[in-house]
Amino acid sequence: MTPILELQAVTVSFDGFLALNQLDLKLEAGELRAVIGPNGAGKTTFLDVITGKVRPSSGQVLFKGKPLIGKPEHHIARLGIGRKFQTPRVFEKLTCRRNLELAVAKGSSPVKLLLKPLTIELRERVQQLLLLVGLGAHDQQLAGGLSHGQKQWLEIAMLVAQDPELLLVDEPVAGLSDEETIHTAALLKELSGSHTVLVIEHDMDFIRDLQAPVTVLHEGHVLCEGPMDQVQADPRVIDVYLGREEDQP
């Protein structure tokens, strides 16, 4: 079976600085994968490459066997790749409900948005998602007025609303309470299987909670890959990343 996502020797150079350096990575359909690595390892850049925001200087990105490089962002999104940003990005001047109503209508043309009302199924889906992320009572509130954690969850809900085959989730639990973190892990685990999920995080408890294979990025390439226990015991990982965990906030 072809993997749902494959990166082959992807290199990204920012004025000579290699943010990604010959990066190889494969994701099987339905997989849940955690990606960790020190600050500046290139994790976000790696998502930028997949979603079309950054064009690599060399290498290939395949989604279900088809090359993605060169396609505009909205085409890639429509192929079924959704993304949550590192700092929550929601539409602050729109209510929570309206944020989700835009997300479920992923990529509609202007004419369709104008002339076709939201179907009942999608309307219900929005309602379910609002309840799922605990924003049921805030549905008419402007997203700009939400707390940081609520924004994180709203954005996760927007990502789920898009119903992409591949979910790329950049630091979903930064700023969330312990309870919310556990809840988020459960949600992502539930999504995997029917979706492919790639999660970037610094929170080790959260990663452990995901019970997923871990890929460690360092200086733009894969340092090692494997189950959490094995990765944690790897001296190279301890050296570049975990050993410095105390320094991190």
Binding site: E73, H74, A77, K106, G107, P117
Partner: protein, 374 residues
């Protein structure tokens, strides 16, 4: 849910009341105002239409165009040309052609003989130009200041072109419409002007309805999303180019209609419609009235133009200073414009500042939200 349903009619009336009042007043005014004042009002109302378009692209979508004069003038010229061709003997040319020794009418004038063609040309030509310009600019992801500069540069190109083309469209002198006849009546006559005023009220109302419809639903949400975080919307699968081009086209069409109505009420269309300051003024109307609120755009156009005509009658030299000061005041003190200030509880704050206790020092948006009242 019940709560929402019972308050629905009241909410609807409340929402549409200002405009109903406005329409009623507008319809009574012809009986009260002398023709000169009525004509001024008609002109300013027609400027409200171009302001609505600017509000759509700037207030909602975040595209600050300094070139709306292009579309405004194109609409004006389309109608001006049609009127020039009225009541000519067979083979006769509009008078100004004689000045430059032009013996045969340029081919592009021909279709403007037709009233139906002109009716469509008034808004479709500006819309087309906006579409082409917009598509090229937006596809290349030109945004922000660069977009503004580019629209101004386009405006200058059109301005210089129209100024230089005596033999095509009478250059700097423009086209007079006052002395033309339409349906047998002089366009400049009081009766005709009153009808044009009423037509303007109607068209402004329709334009407002159109804009209201555009921004009400998810299309309007997408515009706001584009303004606030275009990239986020892109990653949700939306193509910003399509949205921006469409809304720019609509604003262009509105500007064209506005320009046509303005032309016949001021008696002339000239390249001055494409002068740089005029297009900047249009933006100021919207800023002062309140961008992101449709009523604000109309109100801004009316207020500033009335102030301008009053002050210019008395102290012509001071107007530019006053306008500049007004703009600065709005940018610094009332960033949401007059209507935004009003909606955010501005009057209460003002009372408080003047030492009078406002009725309740609370968040007006919470107070007014029926969902939160139980």
């Amino acid at each position: 849910m019940n709560l929402v349903n019972t308050s629905m009619p009241r909410k609807l009336i409340f929402r549409y009341l200002p405009f109903l009042v406005f329409v009623c007043i507008a319809l009574i005014l012809p009986l009260l105002l002398p023709p000169f004042r009525l004509n001024l009002l008609g002109r300013f109302l027609s400027l409200g239409i171009v302001a609505l378009g600017i509000d759509l692209i700037w207030g909602y979508t975040g595209l600050l165009s300094l070139g709306q004069g292009i579309f405004f003038a194109l609409g004006g010229y389309a109608l001006g040309m049609h009127l020039q061709l009225q009541n000519l003997a067979p083979g006769e040319l509009p008078e100004f052609f004689g000045l430059y020794g032009v013996k045969t009418m340029p081919a592009f004038w021909q279709p403007f003989n037709s009233g139906i063609f002109t009716f469509f040309a008034i808004w479709i030509i500006p819309a087309l130009v906006a579409g082409i310009l917009g598509f090229l600019v937006f596809r290349n992801r030109i945004k922000g200041v660069y977009f503004s500069i580019l629209t101004q540069a386009a405006l200058l190109v059109f301005y210089n072109f129209f100024n230089g083309q005596q033999r095509l469209i009478n250059g700097t002198n423009g086209l007079k419409t006052d002395t033309a006849r339409f349906l047998g009546e002089l366009v400049g006559s009081d009766g005709m002007q009153r009808n044009l005023y009423l037509l303007t009220v109607l068209v402004l109302f329709l334009a407002w309805l159109l804009c209201k419809w555009l921004i009400r639903g998810r299309f309007g949400d997408a515009l706001i999303a584009l303004r606030d975080d275009e990239q986020r919307l892109r990653f949700t699968g939306y193509n910003p180019t399509a949205y921006k081009t469409l809304v720019f086209v609509i604003a262009g069409a509105l500007a064209g209609i506005s320009g046509a109505l303005y032309t016949v009420q001021s008696g002339i269309v000239s390249p001055q419609f494409m002068a740089v300051p005029f297009s900047i003024e249009m933006v100021i109307w919207v800023a002062v009235g309140g961008r992101g609120t449709l009523v604000g755009a109309i109100l801004g156009a009316l207020l500033i133009n009335f102030a301008k005509s009053l002050i210019s009658e008395q102290l012509p030299e001071t107007w530019l200073f006053i306008q500049g000061a007004l703009f600065l005041l709005v940018v610094t003190a009332l960033p949401d414009g007059l209507v935004g200030w009003w909606r955010n509880g501005g009057p209460n704050h003002l009372l408080a500042m003047l030492g009078r206790a406002p009725k309740a020092a609370t968040y007006p948006s919470l107070d007014l939200d029926p969902e939160l009242k139980s």
